[in-house]
Homo-oligomer: 295 residues x 2
C-alpha cells in the first residue's frame, strides 16, 4: 500500500465517522428520507474531495476537526448531485458505487427529497459554529460553495451535459462543460482548506491552478474508464456515453491522445504545488493516482 493509499483510506475512515454523526438518525414518519440520505452518503466512494480539503487545510495548519466537518459537508453536496443525476429524468442510472441508485433502492420522490435534504444539511453544517470557527470564514465557505455548486457551477454543468447527447460539442465546449460539472467542486475542495487556513492570495492561486488541471485530468480519466473499464471494477454502468452518442474527451481526442493529455495535466497540476515544498507530497501523489485509477 502506498503512502497515498494509506492516507486516503485513513481519511475516508475518519470521514465516515463524521458523516455518520452529522447525518440524522430517525424513527419518525420521515424515516425513509433519513435512511435514503444515509444510504446515498455513507460507505461509498473514494472521498477524493474531502481528502483534498484535508490535505490543503493541513498546508495551513488547520485543525483536522474543522477540515473533516467541511469535507463532510462537501461530500454531502457531491452525493446529492449523484442522487439527482441518476434520476430517470436525468442520466437514468441503476447502479452507483456497485449498489442500486437511491431511486431504485427507494423511489423517485424519496431520491429527489433526499438530495434536497443533503444539499440543505451541507450549508447548515458549514454555517454552524460547532468548531468555534470564525464567522467570516464560515460565511465565505457557504458563499464559495454556493457559487461552485449552483447555476454557474456544478448544476449549470449538469444542465449543459443533458444537451450533450444532441449537440455537436468541440473540445472547448466539452472543457467548459466539465470545468463546471466536476471542476468547480474540485476547485472548492482546495479553496476550502485555504479559506479555513486564511491562506494568502498567492497560495490560493497556486491551489486553484492545481485543482484546475487536476479536475480536467480526473474527468478525462473518467471518460477513459467509461470506454475501457468494466462495470464491476468501476462500480457503475460503463459504455453509456458512446451508446448515447455523447461527446466526451475520448470521443473527440481518441483514447491515446486523451491519455497523453491526462498525464500532461497531472504534471502541470503538480508544477503548481512548488511553493508548498514537501508538505504537498500527497497532493502530488494524488495527481498521479487520479489519472492511473481503475475505478
Amino acid at each position: 500500500m502506498t503512502e497515498l493509499a494509506r492516507a486516503m483510506a485513513s481519511l475516508a475512515e475518519r470521514l465516515e465517522g463524521v458523516l455518520d454523526r452529522m447525518l440524522p438518525h430517525e424513527d419518525a414518519p420521515e424515516r425513509g428520507l433519513v435512511e435514503a440520505m444515509r444510504y446515498a452518503t455513507l460507505d461509498g466512494g473514494k472521498r477524493i474531495r474531502p481528502f483534498l480539503v484535508a490535505q490543503s487545510a493541513a498546508l495551513f495548519n488547520v485543525s483536522e476537526n474543522a477540515a473533516l466537518r467541511t469535507g463532510a459537508a462537501l461530500e454531502m453536496v457531491h452525493c446529492y448531485s449523484l442522487v439527482h443525476d441518476d434520476l430517470p429524468a436525468m442520466d437514468d442510472d441503476a447502479l452507483r458505487r456497485g449498489k442500486p441508485t437511491v431511486h431504485k433502492r427507494y423511489d423517485e420522490a424519496t431520491a429527489i427529497l433526499a438530495g434536497d435534504a443533503l444539499l440543505t444539511r451541507a450549508f447548515g453544517i458549514l454555517a454552524s459554529d460547532s468548531t468555534h470557527s470564525n464567522p467570516s470564514v464560515r460565511c465565505e465557505l457557504v458563499a464559495e460553495l454556493a457559487k461552485a455548486a449552483g447555476h454557474h457551477g456544478m448544476v449549470g454543468g449538469q444542465m449543459i451535459d443533458l444537451t450533450a447527447e444532441h449537440t455537436d460539442f468541440d473540445i472547448g465546449a466539452i472543457t467548459r462543460l466539465q470545468r463546471l460539472k466536476t471542476g468547480r467542486l474540485i476547485d472548492f475542495s482546495c479553496q476550502a482548506g485555504a479559506i479555513l487556513g486564511r491562506a494568502p492570495v498567492g497560495a490560493r492561486e497556486a491551489l486553484r491552478g492545481y485543482t484546475h488541471d487536476l479536475g480536467l485530468a480526473f474527468q478525462i480519466a473518467d471518460d477513459l474508464l467509461d470506454v475501457e473499464g468494466d462495470a464491476k471494477t468501476v462500480g457503475k454502468a460503463v459504455g453509456k456515453d458512446a451508446e448515447k452518442g455523447k461527446a466526451t474527451f475520448v470521443s473527440i481526442l481518441g483514447a491515446e491522445q486523451a491519455r497523453d493529455q491526462a498525464s500532461r495535466l497531472a504534471s502541470q497540476a503538480i508544477a503548481h504545488l512548488k511553493p508548498f515544498a514537501e508538505k504537498a507530497d500527497l497532493l502530488r501523489e494524488l495527481a498521479h493516482f487520479v489519472v492511473n485509477r481503475k475505478h
Copy 2:
C-alpha cells in the same frame, strides 16, 4: 384597498426588482436552466414570507435593503420547494399560480436542476456580504434556514405528506406534518427579521408564537380552499386532496370546525404581538387576511 393590501403589493413590487437582480441572466448553453429559475420565481405569489421578513425586520429598525435580500433568498427556497413538489414523482401538478408548472413548461430534468440551483443560490445570497452585514448574523441566517428547510423541516414534512395518501393520520399527525412542511419556513420568516435586528430573546419568542399559530391558520385556510375554491381563483388545481383520499385538517375536522379553528388560531397569533404595540399592526392584519383569503 386596505393598508395591508397596499403594503403587501408594494413589498411584492420591490421584491420583484430584487429577485430580478439576484437571479442570473444568461446566454450560455445552460440558458434553459436560468430561464426556468426565473420562470419559477418571478411574477407570482403573494410573497407572504418576504412580507413577514420585512415586517418583522421593521420592528427592529433593520434596513429595508437587508430585509429584501433575505426575503428574496427565502422566496427562492419557497419556489424551489414548489417546483420539486409539483414533479410527476411527487404531487404531479400541471398548474401553479395559474401557469404551467416548471416541468410542464420546460421538462423534468430542467425542473429538478432549477430547484437545486434556486436552493443553492438562496444560501449564497444569505452568506454573501453585499449589505456589509455582520458575518455572525449571516451565518445564523444560513444555519436557521437550513434547519427550517431540511430533513427536520420543510423537506421532512413533504416526505411525510407523500405517505399521507395511504396513512390513517389523526389531527396530531396532520398538525406535525404541516408544522414541518409549511410552518417551519413561516417561522423562519419572522425569525429572520429578528436575527437581522439582533432582537432580544423575548421578542424572538413572541414572534415564534405568532408564526406558529399563523402557519397553522394558513394551512387550514389552504385546505379549505382546496375543498371550496375554484381552480381559476386559487391558481392551482383544487379538490386534489379529497380525490386522493388524503387526510387534511378539513377531512378530519369538517369545514365548519376547521374554519372556527383557523379564526381561533388567527386571534391567538395576534395575541402574541402585544409587546410590539402599533408597530405590529400590519402583522395583525395579515393574520386576518390569511384566514379570509380566496386564493
